[in-house]
């Protein structure tokens, strides 16, 4: 049986068994529907970001990446009605089979679906009305009910636990197969890169305070601050080069470490802003024209590398 058929059967089973027979039960336990709704709403950002995607069908229904609906997951894996009752083809099973067929046929037709559903519920009511041996039948029915409810509850809890961000992060990390790191390429989350970013943050703060002051009050940095300015300039140019050698996290959550892809990503992104902000005007104004030219050549080579990669792809 194909996965699609399996999913459909699980789905329709849920519609028939869970929907009709558990609906009064769930409404008597008024907590479960209200509990389910916020969890589903809470999940939606996680779903949109990672493995889950909100299906564009009717209502809020989530599917995993392989197309399996979230709700049917535990129903598919867990014990079904037949497994619990362990009886042969009973009238109820025949009815559910017919219902499956009807549901699969009436998919997309809301009127037909509603009518079949009402018919099926009527049929199950009739079935329930004439038990073979009254006591046994009632007992098994309640057993089935309670077991199913318990299973649903535990499955929901498990799902909620799975959906919390932390475990999702671990799942995502597990999914990332460790790929070989090319020579001289930093991972975006490596300690060196994080330290570098932290240093950049502090230097940016210094720049934000010092640069407007120097412009507004026509003063130049002296002593320690003079050297710090030079360090900042060199730092930013180094940052420009380092960014060509730092992997990035793609939209699908994968780490990209190929130098060519990195260069393409960088040149089409933050490169121009970094380029503009790291021009050492202090050096150029101080008469170090050679240094300025060297800088330009450096940047041009880097940019050309990126552009060549861009054209190759």
């Amino acid at each position: 049986m194909s996965r699609d058929g399996n999913r459909m059967s699980a789905d329709s089973k849920r519609e028939i068994d869970g929907g009709d027979r558990l609906a009064p039960l769930q409404s008597s336990f008024s907590r479960s529907p209200t509990k389910r709704a916020p969890s589903a709403r809470k999940l939606s950002p996680v779903g949109s970001k990672h493995a889950l995607t909100p299906n564009s069908g009717s209502g809020m229904r989530f599917t995993f990446e392989d197309g399996t609906p979230v709700g049917s997951m535990y129903l598919k894996n867990g014990p079904t009605m037949d497994e619990i009752s362990r009886t042969g083809p009973t009238p109820r099973e025949k009815l559910s089979r017919a219902a499956k067929l009807a549901a699969s046929m009436s998919r997309g037709n809301s009127f037909m679906a509603a009518s079949t559903r009402s018919l099926m519920s009527a049929g199950s009511r009739i079935l329930r009305r004439k038990p073979k041996t009254k006591k046994q039948q009632i007992k098994t029915a309640t057993q089935i009910m309670s077991e199913k409810r318990q299973y649903l509850k535990s499955a929901q809890l498990e799902l909620e636990k799975k959906m919390s961000t932390k475990s999702w992060r671990s799942v995502r990390e597990k999914q990332q197969q460790p790929q070989a790191r090319p020579c001289m390429v930093l991972r975006p989350q490596s300690p060196i890169r994080l330290g570098w970013d932290l240093a950049t943050l502090f230097l940016l703060l210094y720049i934000a305070v010092a640069t407007p002051f120097q412009i507004g009050f026509s003063v130049d940095a002296t002593g320690f601050w003079f050297y710090l300015e030079k360090v900042v300039d060199v730092f930013f140019i180094t940052d420009l080069m380092l960014n060509f050698r730092t992997g990035f996290v793609a939209a699908n959550g994968e780490e990209v470490l190929q130098p060519c892809t990195i260069a393409r990503h960088y040149v089409t992104g933050w490169f121009w802003i970094d380029l503009l902000s790291s021009i050492p005007f202090d050096f150029i104004f101080a008469g170090f024209v050679l240094l300025g030219v060297a800088y330009l050549v450096c940047v041009l080579i880097l940019g050309l590398c990126g552009t060549v990669c861009f054209l190759q792809a």
Partner: protein, 117 residues
């Protein structure tokens, strides 16, 4: 000569291109936040406060720059008579203007208030 001085002074403005890097600040903060799991609310508060102060500082400096750009006593610095005071007082005056203007509560008439004279 006077004009050349103005041009040199105005040329310093190109240094402001360094501040373009601030567009990347959000990326840095997001990355660090993701890694160090800082309290999100605290971070928001710090970001807001720091941003406000840096903004006021920036506008104060720019106000000072435009006030002293004209040597012909046209700028507010000469009109207010702040030009010979120490830089700290000048900065405070400018900062006062920036805060008052950004908070949309202030008027700029220091001389009438008798702060300095």
């Amino acid at each position: 000569m006077l004009k050349a001085g103005r041009v040199v002074k105005a040329l310093r403005v190109v240094r402001l291109t360094k501040l373009v890097r601030f567009l990347k600040l959000a990326v840095f903060i997001e990355k660090l936040e993701e890694h160090f799991s800082i309290n999100r609310n605290l971070l928001q508060l710090v970001k807001l406060l720091l941003g406000t102060v840096v903004m006021c500082h920036f506008f104060a400096c720019m106000w000072m720059f435009f006030g002293t750009l004209d040597m012909n006593t046209d700028g507010w610095v000469y009109a207010e008579g702040v030009q010979d005071l120490p830089a700290s007082t000048q900065y405070l005056t400018s900062f006062y203007w920036a805060v008052a203007t950004l908070a949309t509560v202030g008027t700029f008439g220091l001389r009438e208030r008798g702060w300095f004279f």
